[in-house]
Amino acid sequence: MDFNLKIWRQKNAQEKGHFETYHVSGIEEDASFLEMLDILNEQLIREGNDPVAIERGCQSSGPVSFDHDCREGICGACSLFIDGRAHGPDDHVTTCQLFMRHFKNGATITVEPFRSPAFPIIKDLVVDRSAFDKILQAGGFISVRTGSAQDANNILIPHETAEKSMDAAACIGCGACVATCKNGSAMLFVAARVSSLALLPQGRPEAARRARNMVAKMEELGFGGCTNTRACELECPKVISVEHIARLNREFLKAKFSE
């Protein structure tokens, strides 16, 4: 298969970025989107600096930088906005699990980084998502000291509750929700963690505090507010439901009333 790729190039956080267009050919249908980018990069490295790009003033026409790691849809490193959708046109997958058979031969594909004021660009398609770490540091844990736990079966958790908690815990922290949201809100990300822990008896003692602190940190870091458009749920590769946002709101209100 052949494709034209319109890719966002940006030297670093300070400089302005722009689109460059490249052509790739001979791509197998079973190749993944990232394998296709690997092939493009091989090509760009061998070509050296692309003369057309240099003529247009592009100084960074070497390989395209993009974050990736496990390539099996679980690490959450990949962060590409493809043809206007987080992780591309296939539903509920990460970029690494997107395969070229979902594209028409000869198509022009636009590739951008996840965009949000809270995710500054590092280079090309690589963004800085350390804001997510900071939100979790504000309270996304249960305060238990190593070695002080009781026997695991002393805490009974009904099957359905454990499953619901697991649904929320499946979040991979990729940031597709933020990139998709018109407000750049991280509500689904925050809600997934708050809800997953709030559902479990072990997580109850700190539930309200956790919700309050994580939401405050989210606001402080420049993420927008939630206006219930539910776009995040549609684009979440792990299909995390906005039901968890409702649970977060309940915990948040409880925290307010208890103040």
Binding site: K11, I74, Q137, F141, A152, P158, S165, G173
Partner: protein, 648 residues
Amino acid sequence: MDDKLISKIPDGPLAEKWTKRKSELRLVNPNNRRKLEIIVVGTGLGGASAAATLGELGYNVKVFCISDSPRRAHSIAAQGGINAAKNYQNDNDAIYRLFYDTIKGGDYRSREANVYRLAEVSTAIIDQCVAQGVPFAREYGGYLANRSFGGVQVSRTFYARGQTGQQLLLGAYAALNRQIAAGTVKSYPRHEMLDLVVINGQAKGIIARNLVTGKLERFGAHAVVIATGGYGRTYYLSTNAMNSNGSAAWQCYKKGAFFANPCFAQIHPTCIPVHGTQQCKLTLMSESLRNDGRIWVPKKMEDVEKLRKHQIKASQIPEEDRDYYLERRYPAFGNLVPRDVASRAAKERCDAGFGVNETGLAVFLDFSDAIKRLGHQRVQERYGNLFDMYFKITDVSPWEEPMMIYPAIHYTMGGIWVDYDLQTTIPGLYAIGEANFSDHGGNRLGASALMQGLADGYFILPITIADYLSHKFAEPKTDTNAPEFEEAENKVQARIDKLFSIKGKETVDSIHKRLGNIMWEYVGMARDEEGLKKAIEEIEKLKAEFYENVLIPGTQMQFNQELEKALRLEDFFEIGELMARDALNRNESCGGHFRIESQTPEGEAKRDDENYMYVAAWEYKGENQEPELHKEPLKYEFIKVATRNYKD
């Protein structure tokens, strides 16, 4: 006994060794812990749990990872589960049985005392993780659920759907976040360790490259912990993450830490087969699938040919024409034989011409019986996400046709040599998790990697490291202007400058792919003297070509993924060479290491206990010098060493 390899295994009865060692270990009082700095490199299950626990104890911890967040470490991708000797199923499980299964599964090439301790602390891991909010699978009554894994006859594996590694890592990462917020741990994401700094024979710090700015940075400490995982990416194609690498461990080796059993690499039987030539990564299908899936190839060659020409589908082949070869060869364990045995059996069938896809390198993993027996709903609950994943990748639904699978490199049992305290041959340098060699011998059982990472990180290292640090608190902070830091940084800088100066024509990946081919061909599932010698020669040649013809675009002082890969590939060449050398030395078959020269008439692995019942620990002797082999004899005081039998 080699005087450089003092294993520090306590005397006394097996079940009391850890208690005894704990009572001997010296302590550091809480006020003094604040004065002590510890570097932890890597944030997978081992690194994250160690850093969090050390922080909790009050030490000053600096934790490093190459990803944008500690949560991306490849432990996240472990699917099936974690073992613990809880005996919640009342199936006569016990610490001793988990210990025994692990020693036997490792083909009697691991230390009794270490493995027993691993089994002993396994139960506390589950308690700890549940307390952290890890949503393990539950029965309807609210109790924890279990499943079974290869090489055992009990159900002791705890799981969170097919995402157990993710959930355990998120637990450890949460504990780490709590300490980062508390100020005891400082996190350095997007930093790659490129050298270890040794002062007066003791580990005192690291040189790391800031992957965003490209700058080399110095970090000092009173002790260094390596938790950077395995070196499976030497083979290029593997189930490891793209950025997984052996470099941190390798730099420790080059600074004097012995490297043990490098040839013990695990080849996992159930991976999605290689397609085409553009692939860079293989995907694992969890071992848990072998609980209910049945592995087979056709009995008749004509069916194989029709399958390859797409004239028939697997589901059309009648029951009597299927060869369920694992059930046939190993009736007692059936489809749940250990990974090395299952992988070799798949290779045997494919070598005999019965491989079921166009490349001839695939066998079937069939769920039709399970779907009939359990119903759609229960199979969906157990394996739904794995079925979806398989469908996304291959476009074939396991609900309708069997999966196609083939073995692939998955894990490395070998690693940095450590004593019972997890300390390497360099005082002050510790290695935990997959990065060390200690617990799995020649083959690791499924669901035991997660167990070992967390055992080391939560419960063993934080206790043993105190013994070393107990007389270090009076020492001043390590001065990163010391000449040893200067020298180490200059050496790294020279490496980088050399790479940029080559300006050749080949990309790093294209050369890495060729290294992978050499490794898979000669140091893969079946090895012999001729092939291993050839591998060493070929790696040398390829390495020479790399230094003449590699092309690294861009500059050092920027985000430069090609430079990162090139630095790792330099180390993979050397790791590959040592793996071949170790495999050549070990002229026996054991666990994942199969020497063609050493097999039974039925083609089963034949161990040679008389000559090879030892840990092979290699000492670096300098550039272009042959490494020196040290042997740590393995003594079995408490179990009877036997030929592994999964037949009856």
